[in-house]
């Protein structure tokens, strides 16, 4: 009986697709709003959806049931897991992540992910069910004002109350999410619109009158920037997420190689330039490397590419790069002069702007200046890095775990971190060969992001090794996604760095709140036991002599694996630019 049903389902599925394909030429076909949602997603090339069903989105899920050959839907264990997975998927593939949720609580559970995607410019298309349109505003069961609630955390949102709006709304959603400075969009589709029949026709969106995704790069701005760059004695490139979003990695490399300018990265710019590139001088900001922070205030020209001078990068703005002329290459006009005034703004797409800049600058080298960074590296290695990576004390450090994981994957894995100490350590010590290999929550600092985002990343790039590194705090915020990982056999390598503390908050309490450890210590469950209960392979490491073998075992294991590593309880992340201090006041030790 069941077999017959499945066969019938496949038949009706292929019939529908055939009907769709056949009638594509004939412009229209009669379908329900729900079928239109799925057909529209197919038109946008969607083959992966993360979501969670419920009353108001049931018609769409019912339509989805017929498309299992074209679309893989992953049932997460919480809507937050679905949207973070969509984010992770989007970050590694460069294509919008798609996520479904029902009305009311389903939709409100997406908010954190939307806010995260908004501040980190990640293309995500969320489709939420909504109560039937006659019930709008009546406090109906599972009704909430989703469009109203999500206004500040979406690039665009729209409520669909009539089936015939669906194709155009979805086309607009994908266009807006993925062009210009990307971001999350949300479509809230009333249940009656999901049921209604209409003549379906799909046209991709290529233009919206009121929306300028990117401005053409002005050759005069490029010339002005090139003049400043050519005259620089101590120039420094700061590159961010914009380089990765614009696929401008090759241009960035060519630009720094032609000009010989050292380049430092923001947290979200990480992996755009290979870790071992001779001009890659490391990470900017609060827990970044010593050299790029100190040298920011010694540079005479700063070339910022696709980054927005976040406060975690600048420290005290009034004392930031005062001696430098600022060249700012940026796609979003609102970011230029927002925090740091640009002497030579270059508005536009990073790839196009860098291409034009390469053609306008003279070949150069800055060997002495670059050597100053090497001297900084030497100091940092001696004071911090050597102790993190090759500790002499008994307890394991987060740094050595990250180092071993990176080495054992030939520095070529995708690293997905959560938020906190391990995130900074992971970003500092994991090495990268290819771009789009670092996934983390930057702007919002969303604990609980890591595990579901890693799941999305692995689904997006199934052929790459994906390592999820979380702390014991963040891991427990979305630990339920182990269920999803287990159900679909998502081959993730999950490392939990357990110090039984909310480590970063504890570090601040130690340094700035007189060691008053207010509610940061955690009594944790048996993580191995939990993993095993979910049917996942797992083990726990407590000493150095077990570490390498355990990581190797995890990597060799076919399928998902949870490795708990117990690390030093009260280690700190250094260097550190204390809040409100200048980047030149970066501390190498407490």
């Amino acid at each position: 009986m069941q077999c017959i049903q499945i066969v019938n389902r496949k038949l009706s599925n292929s019939k529908l697709i055939k009907k769709h394909k056949k009638e594509q030429n004939m412009a229209t076909q009669r379908v329900s709003g729900s079928e239109a949602v799925i057909l529209s997603l197919l038109e946008e090339g969607v083959d992966t959806i993360f979501g969670y069903p419920g009353g108001a989105i049931m018609p769409i899920y019912d339509a989805l049931y017929d498309f299992d050959q074209q679309v893989t839907h992953y049932l997460t264990r919480h809507e937050q897991g679905a949207i973070h997975a969509a984010q992770g998927y989007a970050k590694v593939t460069g294509r919008p992540g798609v996520c479904f949720a029902t009305s009311g609580p389903g939709a409100t559970n997406l908010i954190t992910g939307l806010a995260d995607a908004m501040i980190d410019s990640i293309p995500v298309v969320c489709i939420t069910g909504q109560v039937a349109s006659p019930l709008l505003g009546t406090d109906a069961f599972q009704e909430s004002d989703v469009v109203g609630i999500t206004l500040p955390v979406t690039k665009w949102n729209y409520q669909v109350t009539s089936a015939d709006e669906i194709p155009e709304a979805i086309a607009k959603a994908f266009y807006i999410a993925s062009t210009g400075r990307p971001g999350p969009v949300l479509l809230d589709i009333a249940k009656d619109a999901q049921f209604a029949q209409f003549d379906f026709e799909y046209k991709k969106c290529t233009k919206i009158r009121s929306y300028v995704p990117e401005y053409p790069v002005d050759p005069f701005q490029v010339k002005a920037a090139a003049e400043i760059i050519d005259q620089a004695k101590k120039p420094l490139v700061l590159f961010g997420h914009g380089v990765i979003i614009a696929h401008a990695e090759a241009e960035l490399k060519e630009f720094v190689e032609k000009t010989g300018i050292p380049a430092a990265w923001t947290l979200l710019g990480l992996s755009a330039l290979p870790s071992d590139h001779s001009l890659n001088v490391g990470m900017l900001g609060m827990h970044g490397n010593y050299g790029p922070n100190i040298k920011t205030n010694e540079a005479d020209v700063i070339i910022a590419v696709g980054m927005r001078f976040d406060d975690r990068v600048t420290g005290k703005v009034a004392a930031y790069a005062r001696g430098a002329k600022i060249v700012h290459i940026e796609i979003d006009p609102a970011e230029i002069n927002k925090i740091i005034k640009a002497d030579a703004p270059v508005l536009g797409n990073a790839k196009k702007a860098l291409r034009m800049l390469i053609d306008n600058v003279k070949p150069n080298s800055h060997t002495e200046w670059l050597n100053e960074f090497k001297e900084c590296d030497r100091i940092e290695y001696e004071k911090v890095i050597s102790h993190d990576l090759y500790p002499k004390k008994d307890g394991l450090t987060m740094g050595e775990v990250v180092r071993v994981a990176s080495e054992k994957t030939n520095n070529d894995a995708i690293l997905v971190t959560d938020v906190g100490q391990h995130q900074m350590i992971g970003s500092r010590y994991f090495k990268f060969k290819q771009s789009r290999s670092n996934v983390t929550s930057g702007g919002l600092g969303t604990m609980g992001y890591g595990l579901p985002a890693a799941m999305g990343a692995k689904i997006g790039k199934p052929n790459r090794t994906v390592i999820s590194v979380s702390g014991d705090g963040g891991f427990q915020m979305t630990i339920q996604e182990l269920g999803t990982i287990s159900q679909y056999g998502v081959d993730l390598k999950i490392i939990v760095l357990n110090n039984n503390f909310l480590g970063m908050v504890r570090q601040w309490q130690q340094l700035f709140f007189e060691k008053r450890y207010s509610f940061t210590e955690m009594k944790n469950p048996d993580f191995v036991g939990i993993a095993k209960a979910y049917g996942l392979a797992s083990q726990k490491v407590t000493s150095r002599d077990q570490l390498e073998n355990a990581i190797q075992e995890m990597l060799d294991h076919k399928g998902p694996y949870v490795l708990e590593v117990v690390v030093e309880k009260e280690d700190n992340v250094f260097p550190m630019v204390p809040t409100g201090a200048s980047v030149s006041d970066i501390l190498l030790e407490p």
């Binding site: 109203g148 206004l151 807006i176 009158r209 929306y211 300028v212 401005y215 053409p216 979003d332 927002k338």
Partner: protein
């Protein structure tokens, strides 16, 4: 230095856009002193006239954020002296008090106000002008007769240019966007 700015937002006519625009101000804790929304001279394009009291720097940043809103076509910010603007005010005064006074004609004539409706109980007076002018008439009427009801509209403002700036702008932008592949 803070001063009054008139922010003119041209947008598509979409539900929810008003919220999307006002949250940009509220998020930055900027008070909207006055807000008027209506269709512009271009059919389908709506015009928000927003008055705030802010520094030039903050105004510039808010304009940048407003222009990021997908359904917003263009935003202009002007100081008061760059625009011609008016507000409208309605005053309700007791007919009895008004009849007892000899100054009615003088007040109406001097203030350039007009009477919209007279009943046995009340008189409705209308005046257009800048806030200080409508306020002055309020103070005068209130101290002499007592104003029983008063309402002032949001500001409407128009540029000193010969044509609607938006149409010119849209043309220029279309030409520019042709360049982007």
């Amino acid at each position: 230095m803070k001063q009054e700015y008139i922010i003119t937002v041209f947008s598509e006519n979409h539900i929810g856009l008003l919220s999307r625009i006002t949250i940009i101000f509220t998020r930055r804790k900027i008070n909207i002193d006055s807000l008027t929304v209506s269709e512009s001279a271009i059919s389908g394009v709506f015009k928000f006239t927003i008055v705030i009291n802010e520094t030039a720097d903050r105004v510039q940043k808010v304009v940048g954020q407003l222009e990021k809103v997908v359904d917003v076509l263009k935003v202009f910010a002007n100081t008061n002296d760059e625009m011609i603007y008016q507000e409208i005010a309605l005053y309700k005064v007791s007919t009895e008090f008004l009849f007892e006074s000899n100054d009615v004609e003088k007040i109406i004539r001097n203030s350039g106000a007009r009477i919209l409706e007279i009943t046995r109980e009340y008189v409705v007076i209308e005046k257009t002008g800048h806030s200080n002018e409508t306020q002055q008439l309020f103070d005068e009427l209130n101290s002499t007769y007592g104003v029983t009801q008063f309402i002032r509209s949001g500001r409407v403002a128009i540029t000193r240019d010969t044509i609607e700036r938006l149409s010119e702008f849209l043309k220029e932008r279309d030409a520019m966007l042709e360049q982007v592949d």
